[in-house]
């Protein structure tokens, strides 16, 4: 079996089918509230900021900045044994929300990774149906 088959994969739910389907097409979509005007992550029908049901889907620009990161040395499960060291991160999207991700396309080195650096979405195809949005430094895109 390949490593991708071992990797823990998301099980999309009715409220997130659209999100994962768009990811499969290499597009990042967010939920946005038409009442308070805030975009939010993760996708759910009712706005977590104001509890409005007047929410919609919007396509994200894919641009953001690095909000925080960590470099994983001790694999948290056997599926990640061959991946360490890898960079986990929270990215603050241009539209406002923060999302968890991996930072790729840069050495896992604190001297090179800078909080606040501009990043751009990319997609990693991890199975037939699942593509994960990851982020890379914007200047390397």
């Amino acid at each position: 079996m390949t490593q991708a088959e071992h990797r823990p994969l998301p099980l999309p739910q009715p409220e997130s089918d659209f999100y994962w389907e768009k990811c499969r097409q290499h597009e990042l979509w967010l939920r946005k509230c038409n009442d308070c005007q805030k975009a939010y992550f993760y996708p759910r029908d009712i706005c977590p900021h104001c509890f409005s049901r007047k929410t919609t889907w919007v396509k994200a620009s894919g641009r953001g900045t690095l909000y925080t990161y960590a470099i994983v040395y001790r694999p948290p499960s056997p599926a990640f044994r061959d991946k360490v060291p890898y960079v986990v991160a929270l990215v603050e999207l241009e539209e406002g929300p923060r999302m968890p991700t991996n930072l790729v396309g840069i050495e896992p080195d604190p001297a090179k990774i800078k909080i606040g650096m501009p990043v751009m979405v990319d997609f990693e195809d991890v199975s037939e149906t699942i593509s994960l949005p990851v982020f890379r430094p914007a200047d390397s895109a």
Partner: protein, 390 residues
């Protein structure tokens, strides 16, 4: 009955661990629950037949634990919000007893964090399974290190690093005074800085132990407390809260909901920060302590590294903290919160021998007022309790 109880003080009258803690592959998690319950009731001088309220957290609800213990409680609470749960149970026990829903509350914990033969399956459709786990954002060390890195960015990496080291080293010094602690070898600053990376910015010695352990607490009315074996430790005030579940949705990675539970517990207890002789602060990681001290208001945002400087929290320092050796060096089964209560009660009874903390305002007496603070999930849930002896 209920009306008069509203004014009654509620006390902790019994505490203990399971027979063995640390590396205990020969006991199941439920055995650890039961042993701790047995030992804590013996400590109180009460019988299992006296217990009419049961509180527990973790994969086993009170249904499982009550059956195993052979009791039929009339009040139950399986609130399970991570390692803070047991401190939160104290607040719930006070409420239930004052309302007359139960009279003797038993809080139990048992977990084979190290030696469990199997782990419960995880539902892949949960938000964290969809949005964090696929990236390898799995488990507490990785999640907490994301928060710590943001703190370092905001308040300075070198001074934060020194603060984390102070906490790791000071906590080990307390563990050396506790025969029940798993890690009792000396730990130097050099050892800390040279230890391997787990999830940068966390070194090995930023992270708690992973052990097997049970712990239990008995809570009851003032009336019952007066007939127990040992002097009562009063629950003066308690508060709870949570503000997120996944680390990626934490509103502010440098502040926990302790900023609300701390002031609420102090207000209910009628004491201030200056009255605290002993602080038991959940130390899943060194960073958990730093951010909690600030959130509780012992110091301001970003001031944690200065607050713990110079081994201030170590034996002999003027802010005794985590005097059992903490999750970092004594034991950490996974949901450690119950053990914070055990140590605070023992300190307030004057049972701690070489590591006994004294009353700040009268050094001839042992400690009088303790703060216990649990943190659970991904810095998600908090429970604060202020305890005191007569």
């Amino acid at each position: 009955m209920a009306k008069s109880l509203q004014n009654q003080r509620i006390a902790i009258v019994g505490v203990d661990e399971s027979d063995e803690i640390g590396i205990v592959p020969n006991k199941s998690p439920l055995q650890l629950h039961a042993e701790a319950a047995y030992n804590a009731l013996a400590d109180a001088g009460l019988s299992i037949k006296d217990v009419d309220g049961l509180f527990t957290a973790g994969p086993f609800s009170t249904l499982v634990v009550a059956e195993y213990l052979g009791i039929e409680p009339r009040f139950t609470d399986s609130t399970s919000v991570g390692g803070s749960s047991f401190v939160i149970h104290l607040a719930h026990a006070v409420a239930a007893i004052r309302q007359g829903y139960c009279r003797v509350a038993l809080i139990t914990h048992g977990e084979s964090g190290r030696s469990a033969r199997a782990r419960p399956p995880i539902f892949q459709g949960l938000p964290d399974s969809q949005y964090e786990v696929p990236y390898g954002i799995i488990g507490a060390p990785i999640r907490y290190s994301l928060a710590c890195m943001r703190y370092m960015h905001q308040y300075g990496e070198d001074r934060t690093r020194q603060g984390l080291a102070e906490i790791a080293v000071a906590t080990r010094k307390w563990a050396q005074l506790n025969p029940k602690a798993l890690m009792r070898d000396p730990l130097t600053f050099e050892d800390y800085h040279n230890s391997r990376w787990i999830s940068y910015p966390f070194h090995l010695y930023d992270c708690c132990l992973v052990t097997d352990a049970g712990g239990a607490v008995v809570v009851t009315t003032e009336e019952v407390a007066r007939s127990c074996r040992k002097p009562p430790v009063w629950i003066l005030g308690a508060a709870e809260g949570h503000d997120h579940n996944m680390i990626s949705t934490m509103p502010d990675l440098t502040r926990t909901i302790a900023y609300r539970t701390g002031p609420a517990a102090f207000e209910r207890a009628g004491v201030t920060h200056d009255d605290i002789d002993l602080a038991m602060i959940y130390d899943s990681f060194t960073y958990t302590v730093l951010v909690t001290l600030e959130s509780l208001g012992f110091c301001g945002p970003g001031e944690g590294p200065d607050f713990v400087a110079g081994q201030r929290t170590a034996p002999g320092g003027d802010f005794p903290m985590n005097t059992n050796g903490g999750g970092l060096s004594y034991t950490h089964s996974g949901m450690y919160g119950v053990f914070l209560i055990l140590e605070a009660v023992r300190q307030l009874r004057g049972e701690c021998g070489a590591r006994q903390v004294m009353h700040k305002k009268d050094k001839s007496q042992h400690a009088k007022v303790a703060l216990v603070h649990g943190t659970g999930g991904s810095l998600s849930s908090c429970g604060t309790a202020i305890l005191a002896r007569d």
